[in-house]
Amino acid sequence: MFWYIGKRLLQSILTLFIIITIVFSLLRLMPEEGYLGAAAEKMSFEQQEIYLTNLGLRDPLIVQLGNFYGDLFQGDLGKSVNYRTDVPVTSIIGDKIMYSLLFGLGAVALSLLLGVPLGILMAQMKGRWLDRLGTGYIVFVVAVPAAVYYLFIQMYITDIFKLPMLFDEYNPISWVLPLLSMALAPTASYAMWMRRYMVDELNKDYIKLARAKGVKERTLMFSHVLRNAFIPMAQYLPATILFTITGSIYIESLYSIPGMGGLLVDAIQRQDNTVVQGLVLVFSSLGILGLILGDIAMALVDPRIKLGKGESVR
């Protein structure tokens, strides 16, 4: 297990380096105005050259890359150009990332808490009213664009339950609606997958044998079916974590949460190369982290994945 995680970590770090290098290279292909900021118009051509040389942008590309990595290891992502001029990128992202992470992870936790049991119940009552109700909910969430029901929730639910319309850090009640709205879609997908895999497992031969040997239906569900059905679920976890973090742009702007959601769009529009670079780095790290966690979770629950020996059975 230890070796397996170590190996996966090393692989991920390698992947991360490749991504960073590609992003770095791509941004060097962007117009240089992105580094000059609002002052560009007032500068003469010579002044611009001096400014860019001072920034190190006239060095050979390989030296620039080296410097970039050097700064990166010291936790320096450069300074924002015109999003918030001269403020370090790390502190711009740092201010906002906590909000996005908290809401993202909160929504994932909430949807797991609701979606998995819902899926289990639906599988157990396949074809009965609860199953149909759940299916209706899933179809609704998948078919109706998120923006529509987000808006409706904000318009009506706030009204009916007298909840605050906007996010307020110091008023926990104002956190409820954004969290709930964010959790709706992943809850539906967890329930859907859980139900599907449970039904799949319930039709397998080993369940028939377990029944024949006299295992109670309840024991059967929890000690045989649940774990087996959860294995494929483990793969979806990282993907949904990513989705809830990056997909929070809507919610964040609706409830004016000072999160990261809109930051990338803003930074791109204002051609703030350093901020874009920093954000891509954060997003890709989160994605890779999600994948590792998914793999580890799979390895923990499925004995058929041989660890660290490079020979997988599945």
Partner: protein, 354 residues
């Protein structure tokens, strides 16, 4: 040899059983008025082609019918209980495993891939033998040894994917034995195995039957298996038992045309240069009411009455009965094919030598 154990004490008795399924609003009659006794200590083979209802019959004994299937009429008597009347899971838990255990068809899929085989066997030991902890562990190891697995302490901790097909079938058998049942049902225990392993598994089952004093029921369409293990044979066709008797009686003195057809289909009975025998036509549609003998439309010896009235069981000997009008004294004599007669002759002389 075959007469040596002369089991007479009835352990399970099926009487006039009718099982139906509702499928898309239609009613399918899977078991049509079957009566069958199972005697203590014997091994009974139920043979028949796919869809003849053999699996449905044994599933009904364990309450494992699919949700759309139900017992319409009849009784299944076991220990003064009528299993046909069982409704709740609680009722069935008294039977499943404890009294009647099952060895399933496909060992590759019959084990939970995420539990060690030791745990899967031990689950039964704990459930049905009331043992716990160390005791249960030791009983499990003994069971593993009994089914012919070596290095049991290491094997106990391994997962199903670390075993071959034959080994897994041994484990499935160990699970059945762990329940400490009176009756063991083997639902095509060797179908999914390759031929060399088949013989080993059958031998193992035979040995264990003696050792644990089990009554076994084999379900199979493989007459080779039947010949190796069965004391008694029941032949099923279209949801009905059409012939039942001691193994040698059915094999070498079969009376029902369907039994003849089955035996004629054995490749050993074919002669060089000629096509192997196959039964023409298809089994009847079970959604429709079957009139007369279900096999009549495919039967070259069919009489007029076969299409009109269902034949009763005619007694051939104390242990041998067949449902065919050909046994009625008024019916004409039929000429059987040479190969079949030769087979019967050979079989009888072989049985006499024994």
């Amino acid at each position: 040899m075959m007469e040596a154990n002369h089991p007479q004490e009835r352990i399970l008795s099926i009487q006039n059983l009718v099982i139906q399924f509702t499928l898309r609003g239609q009613v399918l009659k899977a078991i049509r008025d079957i009566s069958l006794d199972l005697y203590k200590g014997e091994s009974l083979a139920i043979v028949g082609e796919s869809g003849s209802g053999k699996s449905v019959l044994v599933k009904s004994i364990m309450g494992l019918l699919d949700k759309n299937g139900y017992i319409d009429q009849g009784q299944i008597l076991y220990n003064d209980m009528d299993l046909a009347g069982f409704k709740t899971e609680e009722d069935w838990l008294k039977i499943r495993g404890k009294e009647i255990a099952m060895v399933t068809q496909d060992p590759m899929t019959s084990l939970n891939p995420l539990k060690t085989i030791g745990k899967q066997i031990e689950e039964c030991v704990v459930l049905h033998q009331g043992l716990k902890g160390k005791e249960a562990y030791h009983v499990t190891l003994k069971l593993l040894t009994d089914v012919g697995i070596y290095d049991v302490e290491k094997r106990y901790k391994q997962y199903p994917h670390e075993f071959s097909g034959g080994m897994r079938q041994r484990i499935v058998i160990a699970i059945a034995l762990a329940c400490n049942p009176k009756i063991l049902i083997c639902d095509e225990p060797t179908t999914a195995l390759d031929v060399t392993i088949q013989a080993q598994i059958l031998q193992l089952l035979k040995n264990l039957q003696k050792k644990y004093g089990l009554t076994t029921v084999y379900i199979t369409h493989d007459l080779g298996v039947v010949a190796k293990v069965a004391d008694r044979i029941a032949v099923m066709y279209a949801g009905d038992i059409i012939e039942v008797g001691k193994a040698h009686e059915v094999f070498f003195d079969g009376k029902h045309p369907y039994t003849w057809a089955l035996i004629s289909s054995l490749p050993q009975l074919g002669s060089k240069g000629e096509q192997l025998f196959s039964i023409k036509g298809t089994p009847p549609n079970l959604f429709k009411e079957i009139k007369g003998d279900a096999f009549a439309p495919r039967n070259q010896y069919a009489l007029k009455i076969d299409f009109v009235e269902r034949p009763p069981f005619f007694k051939v000997s104390d242990t041998h009965y067949a449902r065919t009008w050909l046994l009625d004294p008024r019916s004409p004599k039929v000429e059987l094919p040479e190969a079949l007669l030769a087979f019967f002759e050979e079989g009888r002389s072989y049985a006499n030598e024994q």
